[in-house]
Symmetry: C2
């Protein structure tokens, strides 16, 4: 049984995937890649029984889940360490039935259906009283941590503990609110729209910026103009403009940066006591191409070096002709 | 002038390297590599005027520094953001005059001289009253964030702010001490030496473990058995056993894992008010090969997935014959 283990120094949780553990020797050679669509496991999964299905989007349980909810959640000690079995759920969102690799190439209507699917699955998964956080995210390309299988997909993980980075964001936003009695993200949107230098694109509901203290080259955030802490509740009736701006930014990456690997992560509020976050937390999506490697300095300090200013990457992305 | 910028949400600092900014188009193609030793800039630097030199180890200022201390340190606001010019120092430690790539292949005496050099440079750099933290670290191999130039080297960065991850470690260790009135690291060493499962190797002064909540496959920590918060002060008279255990673990990586890319980072206490950390912080070195990519889940939550248990990697590393 896989385990959730907590680093006793900083409180960071790790899933130790013993169930699907690769043998040590497997790390010596790179992972094998699957290029033949006939061998694509996701094309096969499209035909299998799923958890949810609508508009060509299908949700299935992971074939090699690293979390499962068949045993009750129970934390225990091991000397000074904390551990529990890897409780939670791990779902794969098959975004399209055809073997198409990049979400940038899906019709806007299909991306809309994916966003609706995230919201519906989050609403279903949060009914489990043991779940503390739900993350919907995408890994596209090997450099983004994905297996090299060209079928557009994303993942939803539901975990029974509050992840460290989520806590950091919540705490930071709360401190700002305590001092200013305003939402930091709303202030940021106001400042960025006035400043314009770091704005890539906007529509009626969303603005895409390259953050002021970007960690990575071409890092972007999709910020909803309306204040709301929770993605699943806020997105209703705005799926279409989110799908439009998501396709827009992913096309800018694809055309301007030669189809790079990328990740996106929906940053929503924790599942429990949502009313306690509603004043100061503001959901958003981080979208970032993977063009550089994190080195020892970043690993050792959590202090990043970004080799290009966000003002320059925003200007570059604004100029990309996505209608060419 | 490059800048230090702070993420207003989580307080994370980023160095925005405007000085040596690559043009956006430079991210489209991979970095060029240098394989001919005659073109190695570090072989050339060995002959140049350095900051410090002893026993064949030479310290030079970076050719493309991302930090400099020629202007006074001054934080200023930019709307809701904090920014200053990139104050600090950025030194390169050339570990050997010959064009040898991997520290694992250096004689133990040479690694000893490198460790002494780190301590001496830290003692010199911390005299600057604006410096809050000094990180000595190594990037070996492209996957570890290094340029592909086969000359063994490491880096020392001195920065005027306390990095987020250092704060997290300090705060966690302090909480444990407040509760137990004992050092968490000392307790961890006691538990690990008794448990034995995660111990890779030990000598009279140090023990190498694979941490209980490892983030990465084959992650290791070198823990000094004697309690001390500060590397530069503690290492005196122990350089030789540190060099021996560093060479040992790096050889286990090289032989057992087919010469992987790796990073190490010396985790020492902050520069200011060292006496306030002395009871509860315990310096150590994180050493980790770079065998997998961080994906969206880790990026989005700070919650890691480790595909192999540390008990299995410790057993594998123990079995590697480094005298073959």
């Amino acid at each position: 049984m896989s385990q959730l283990r907590k680093d006793p120094i900083v409180g960071r949780w790790t899933i130790i995937a013993t169930e699907r553990a690769r043998r040590p020797a497997a790390f010596v050679d790179p992972l094998s890649t699957i290029t033949d669509p006939k061998q694509c496991p996701y094309c096969q999964d499209i035909a299998s029984k799923g958890v949810y299905e609508s508009h060509g989007v299908k949700v299935v349980n992971s074939r090699s889940p690293i979390l499962d909810d068949t045993k009750p959640f129970e934390l225990r000690g091991h000397g000074l360490y904390d551990v529990c079995h890897s409780y939670g759920s791990h779902e794969i969102v098959l975004e399209v039935s055809e073997h198409i690799a990049n979400m940038a190439d899906l019709p806007k209507e299909q991306i809309n259906a994916v966003m609706q699917t995230y919201a519906l699955r989050m609403q279903a998964l949060r009914k489990n009283p043991f779940i503390e956080y739900i993350l919907a995210y995408k890994n596209y390309g090997v450099a983004a941590g994905s297996r090299n299988i060209g079928h557009s997909r994303s993942q939803i993980m539901a975990v029974p503990v509050l992840p460290m980075r989520v806590k950091d964001k919540i705490n930071g936003a709360q401190k700002y609110f305590d001092f200013h009695e305003r939402c930091m993200f709303c202030d940021m949107i106001t400042q960025e729209l006035k400043d314009k230098q770091r704005v890539v694109v906007e529509n009626e509901d969303f603005v895409v910026i390259t953050p002021f203290a970007s960690r990575f080259p071409f890092e972007t955030w999709i910020l909803p103009k309306d204040h709301h802490c929770d993605f699943a509740d806020a997105i209703k009736d705005h799926e279409d403009s989110l799908a439009a701006i998501m396709k827009d930014i992913l096309l800018r990456f694809k055309i301007g940066l030669n189809d790079p690997a990328y990740n996106y992560m929906i940053q929503t509020s924790p599942v429990k006591n949502p009313s306690s976050f509603k004043d100061y937390y503001h959901w958003h999506i981080e979208v970032m191409p993977r063009l550089t490697r994190v080195a020892g300095f970043e690993r050792g300090t959590g202090f990043y070096i970004c080799p290009i200013p966000p003002e320059m990457t925003a200007a570059f992305l604004r100029e990309v002709d996505i209608h060419a």
